[in-house]
Symmetry: C2
Subunit: 336 residues, 2 copies
């Protein structure tokens, strides 16, 4: 298993990325190719004495910043760590890629560089969402903000394959994120998506609402990229807000303080259960390759987990499962 | 102050509604008109011995159920508590209305029955969102899922008036809910809304993301009804999920149990701070009247607070403030 990791991506690159790569090499034995500015990466590694045999460095002179326009950087920064990492995947020198960098640039580079799977019209970002029964997948969390109903059907199929083969859910339930449960709810776009999902072979349970994301009643949550992005960011920040309020309680006298200390302990345990770092990042599904997009604020552990998730996707042949699932559907639609 | 309350609206109607009305009459001295099936309401009141002098009952024979289509019920259930309540407002027999019933039916009945304020093209549901600095308002939480950029500008103006005169924020900051902070982010619809908001007299701080809702950096969060509804329901349910996880911890041995008991205490305090019941329901802004839509699962306290919020909106002349703010903008646009 060879995995290319964007050493320059993320708020604390390259140090956190180098540390995460080391952890992954040590724990799983993968061969990691760190892509980025050689000197900066070597400087990081000078801190460590051992375990470097499974890690190599592939130089890329440029860095894509977080706020940069994807379309521009793809053209102007040809030697960016993101572009070079995707090139390695295209040349089949690595089995998968991982980046905690500019999401738009990664989506753009991967889509153009690797192409889409047969039958897929748009890539989708899948995010593992912890819930009261374990975890599900939400797709799309922002790859495509101008989705058509047909794309949402394809997201359903991709998410289902991921839930089945990676999350090991036997018959994943697929739900459409809407503003009410009734079939008549929502915009024309959502209603048409509902129709396509109903007619598919998926185990489609109908519309779900924002409040159902965490109950675990549904394993695959399908939505367009704008909605998915907002839903994801609200979820992430609310958990963070509860943490901040807890800290504030610490300064309110003895009993609140005692409660907050104990509360902190239980909250940490809950937070671990809801922790995105445990799930290692988002999956760019639909491309002809395996690409994991880790959070910009990823810790070394999150990078390590992102690398593990990438390897699992390769090992479980998720892309072949998607192609198998999508092609008969495409034919049916062709006949209709 | 006379307020009509839909006695048949909400999961536990009419009992919880009657109790909430009693609390409001007692605490604030408002005159409450409970609208709904007379016999059922009287049965509730037979439990109470006193304090009934400020409460009257106005009979309405029909009930709109939660799942019913608004368009159908408006026509077919003319004598529903929602329709009759709106009729009382139209006849100026009451100053405001409150319902915890079918949101769509209330929006529809209020818009058709009371009409829109001069210069407003679509009503918007405003929701008070607790945040780390206090509270802000999100508009629209689902009145209008087919919004135009012009409607979002009007939401900004309505939300600003509410934040200024009811939340007492001196120069409310208005933000547009988007998937990134840069001006170039989002769909064409969002970009055009950005342009209109930038050119307005509002204190527009630009795009905000889902993660910014709870920081309090922004006092008025503007978005279309679909996004707003998802964001609101995700927020509500995540808080609920943390509560459930806390309960689960109670069954995990002594130390976790001790932590959970203390955690529960601090969580209750946090939850109170984040509690939607404290804020008493959503505001249907843009209609020529005052209409509060309480949560279907409202407690008596939430109903009481919804009645208080309705009274505040009347007392502060929010609608006149909105008209004053909107008309110059309309003229400018007319000249452009």
């Amino acid at each position: 298993m060879r995995i290319a990791v964007d050493a320059m991506g993320g708020d604390k690159a390259p140090s956190v990325v180098a540390e995460g790569a080391l952890l992954a090499a040590k724990e799983y034995g993968y061969r990691i190719v760190l892509v980025g500015q050689k000197e900066a990466i070597e400087k990081e590694f000078s801190k460590y004495k051992k375990n470097l045999r499974d890690i190599s460095i592939h130089h890329a002179s440029e860095v894509v910043e977080m706020g940069e326009s994807p379309a521009v950087t793809i053209r102007k920064k040809k030697d960016s760590s993101i572009n070079v990492m995707i090139e390695l995947a295209r040349a089949r020198e690595v089995d998968a890629v991982v980046s905690a960098g500019n999401t738009g640039a990664v989506v753009c580079a991967a889509t153009l560089g690797l192409g889409l799977l047969q039958g897929i019209e748009r890539p989708g970002i899948g995010v593992i969402m912890p819930n009261l029964k374990g975890a599900g997948i939400l797709i799309d969390a922002g790859a495509n903000i101008d989705a058509k109903p047909q794309h949402l059907l394809q997201y359903g199929i991709m998410g289902e394959a991921y839930a089945r083969y990676i999350l090991n859910i036997e018959s994943p339930k697929v739900g459409l994120l809407n503003i009410g449960e009734e079939e008549t709810k929502g915009t024309d776009f959502v209603k048409e998506s509902f129709r396509l999902l109903s007619e598919s072979d998926l185990n489609f349970i109908g519309n779900i609402e924002g409040k159902d994301i965490f109950t675990g009643e549904c394993d695959v949550i399908v939505c367009d990229g704008f909605i998915g992005n907002v839903a994801l960011k609200v979820s992430e920040s609310l958990a963070e807000t509860v943490g901040k309020l807890l800290k504030r309680e610490l300064n309110r006298g003895f009993l609140p303080r005692l409660s907050a200390i104990f509360g902190h302990r239980v909250f940490k345990s809950i937070r671990k259960e809801m922790d995105y770092a445990e799930y290692g990042g988002a999956l760019l599904l639909g491309i002809d390759g395996v690409c994991i997009i880790a959070h910009g604020s990823s810790t070394a552990k999150a990078i390590k987990n992102a690398i593990r998730v990438a390897a699992e996707e390769v090992e479980q042949n998720v892309n072949e499962r998607i192609i198998t699932a999508i092609l008969p559907k495409e034919n049916e639609i062709g006949q209709a």
